[in-house]
Amino acid sequence: MKVPPPPAGKVKLPAKLSLALLADMLRIRRMEEKCAELYGQQKIRGFLHLYIGEEAVAAGAMRALEPEDNIVATYREHGHALLRGVSMDAIMAEMYGKQEGCSRGRGGSMHLFDAQTRFYGGNAIVAGGLPLAAGLALAAKLQKEKRVTACFFGEGAVAEGAFHESMNLAALWGLPVAYLCENNLYAMGTALERSEAQTDLCVKAASYGMATLKVDGMDVVAVHEAARRAREHAAKKGPIFVEFQTYRFRAHSMFDPELYREKSEVEAWKTRGPIHTFTARLKAQGDLTEERFLELDAAAQAEVDEAVAFAEAGTWEPAEHLTADVYTPQ
C-alpha cells in the first residue's frame, strides 16, 4: 500500500492555537499509552480500542466546534471525550469501572457519556451513532437552535445500512450535522479495498447530495481548517461529510494480533505521525522550542498521573444500585 507523503503544512495557525492543538494531542497520547499499560495490569478490562496515531482528527475537530454543539462518537472515543471537556479523571475512573467515572462505571471504555458537554456517547455498534446524530440535528432544527451535531465514525461504518439511511435522511431534510469519518483504512482487520467496491468514501456521501471534503487526517492544521468549514457548512447550509485519512498505529483492540497488515506499512505511516510531524513543523516555524515541548508533555503526563490516582481512589457503585436507571425514576 502506498503511504502518502508527510503533511505539507502550507497553512499556518496562530501560535497559541497551534500549541493548544499540540497539547491536546499529547494529552490523548499520554493518556492512552497509560491505558495500554493499565490494561496489561488488568486495571482496565473488557475491550480497549486505542486512538494512538489518529489524535489529529479529534484535536483538530474539537477545537472547531462550539460548546452548544452535540457530539456523537464511537467505541474509540477516549480522545474525543477528553478534548470535548470530560475530565481525564472521570474518563480514567470510568475505565476502572468506578462510580466516579463519567458513566458511573456502567459503560467502560466504549461507552463514555457526558450530558454536561453534550457528549452522547460512545456507541459500540458500528454506524449505530449515525441515525442518532441525524435525530439530534433534527431536534435542533425543529427547535430553531443554533447547535450543530458532529458525528464521528470509522470508515467501516460506510458498509452499514445505517450509514446510507442516515446520509439520505440528513440530506433530504437539510439537517445541521457534520458526519466526520475517520478513515484509518481497516475495519478491525478488513482493509477498505477488500470490503468496498467504491473506496472513495466521498463519492458515496456525494451520491446522497451531501457536501463532502477529503482531508489529510494526520495533519492537525488541515483537520482543524476542514472541521471549521464543516461546522460552518452544517450550521448554514446543511449536512456535510468529511473524510479524514488517518491511520491507527496500535492494534484494533488489545486482543488483535494484527495478522492483516505488514509491520513495514505501520512503520511507514508512523513517519507521518501527527504529533512528531506537527512538533517539527512548529519548531521550524519558530513557534515552539524543545523546552516548551517538554513542558507540554510533562503537563500531559502529570494529568495522567493524577487521573490514575483519582481512578485508583475511586469507589465501586454498590451492587444494590444495579437496577437503578434501567428506567427513569418517576
Binding site: S103, A134, G135, A137
Partner: protein
C-alpha cells in the same frame, strides 16, 4: 359518551398529542400525504404541516434512530414503523440504543420516545406480514411495551406513553380497528392489567388482538378475563388475585409458544401461585409455523375461541 372505532380512537389520540405539545411530532412511512397505512393519521398533515407529520423514506433503522436522537435532543417524537414486521429492520436502534442508553450512561440520558406499530395476524397477509412479536420485545429491559385491546386504551395509551420519560413501544391491532366502544375521556395508565370480564370458573389471561376471542370463550366457560395491557413491566397482581378464586388459569397469546410471553406468565404463576392452583396452567398460543396465507390454514395457526374453550375443559378433565 359516544361510541367510536378503535381506529378513530388512535387518530384522536394522535391529534390531541400534536395539538397539546409543540415537542411532539409524528414520523414514519406514509404517515402524512397517504394518511397512514391504516388511515390512522388521516388529516393530520393538513392540520399540523409536514414538519410535524413527517413522511420518511423506507428507512426503519434510520428514522427510528433519528427518533431516538430527536428524543435526546428535547423533542417528544412518535415514530411509526408501520408494522412489527418492519420493526425488525429497526431492531438495532430499539435494542442497542433506546433501551440501553439510560443505564449505560449512568443515568444521564433518558429517551422519551414512542414507537407505534401494527401487529398481529388474521387478515390473510401471509408469513412476512403476520408476526406477533410484542412478547419478544417484552424480553428487553429499558423499554415499556403497551398493547391497547380496547377502544378506551387505544384512545388513552398514547398520552400516557408520551408522558413516560423512557421509550415506549405501542402496539396497535388492525384486527380490532373496526371494533367500536365508548370513550370516557379519562386518563388511562400504562402500568396495570385489568379484569375485562368477571367469572368464577377459570382465569383467562390475554392481551391485544386475542381479547375478543378470550371474551367469547369466557361466555361459554364462566371465565374471568384479564387483559394484561402492559407487557413490560408485567402487572400480574389481578391475575394472582383471580387465580386465588378460580384456581385454574389459561394464558392466551398470539405469539409463538416456545419462549413466549405466555411462558413468562406461566412461570410467574408457578413461582407465586403454585399452591393456589388445582391444575397446571395451560396456554393457547400460535402454532409454531410461519403464518400461512390460506384462510383455513391461518385460522388453524392462531388462537381461536374454540381452542381456548378446549384448553379450559382440559383443566377439568
Amino acid at each position: 359518551m359516544s361510541a367510536i372505532t378503535y381506529r378513530e380512537a388512535l387518530r384522536q389520540a394522535l391529534d390531541e398529542a400534536l395539538g397539546k405539545d409543540e415537542r411532539v411530532f409524528l414520523m414514519g412511512e406514509d404517515v402524512g400525504r397517504y394518511g397512514g397505512t391504516y388511515a390512522v393519521s388521516k388529516g393530520l398533515l393538513e392540520k399540523y404541516g409536514p414538519e410535524r407529520v413527517r413522511d420518511t423514506p423506507l428507512s426503519e433503522l434510520g428514522f427510528t434512530g433519528a427518533g431516538i436522537g430527536a428524543a435526546l435532543g428535547g423533542m417528544r417524537p412518535i415514530v411509526e414503523v408501520m408494522t412489527v414486521n418492519f420493526s425488525l429492520l429497526a431492531l438495532d436502534q430499539i435494542v442497542n440504543s433506546a433501551a440501553l442508553l439510560r443505564h449505560m450512561s449512568g443515568g444521564q440520558f433518558s429517551v422519551p420516545l414512542v414507537v407505534r406499530m401494527a401487529t398481529g395476524a388474521g387478515r390473510q397477509l401471509a408469513a412476512q406480514h403476520s408476526h406477533s412479536l410484542e412478547g419478544w420485545y417484552g424480553h428487553i429491559p429499558g423499554i415499556r411495551i403497551v398493547a391497547p385491546a380496547t377502544v378506551e386504551d387505544a384512545r388513552g395509551m398514547l398520552a400516557a406513553a408520551l408522558a413516560d420519560p423512557d421509550p415506549v413501544l405501542l402496539f396497535e391491532y388492525p384486527a380490532l380497528f373496526e371494533t367500536k366502544g365508548e370513550v370516557s375521556g379519562e386518563k388511562v395508565d400504562i402500568a396495570s392489567s385489568k379484569v375485562r370480564r368477571e367469572g368464577g370458573r377459570v382465569t383467562i389471561v390475554t392481551y391485544g388482538g386475542c381479547l375478543p376471542k378470550a371474551l367469547k370463550a369466557a361466555e361459554e366457560v364462566d371465565g374471568e378475563v384479564i387483559d394484561l395491557r402492559v407487557l413490560r413491566p408485567l402487572d400480574l397482581a389481578p391475575v394472582l388475585e383471580s387465580v386465588k378464586k378460580t384456581r385454574r388459569c389459561v394464558v392466551v397469546d398470539e405469539g409463538w409458544r416456545s419462549g413466549g410471553l405466555a411462558a413468562e406468565v406461566m412461570a410467574r404463576l408457578m413461582e407465586q401461585a403454585f399452591y393456589e392452583l388445582d391444575a397446571p396452567v395451560a396456554r393457547v398460543c400460535s402454532e409454531e409455523v410461519p403464518v400461512p396465507y390460506a384462510k383455513h390454514l391461518e385460522e388453524a395457526a392462531l388462537p381461536q375461541p374454540e381452542k381456548i374453550v378446549a384448553a379450559v375443559k382440559g383443566l377439568f378433565a
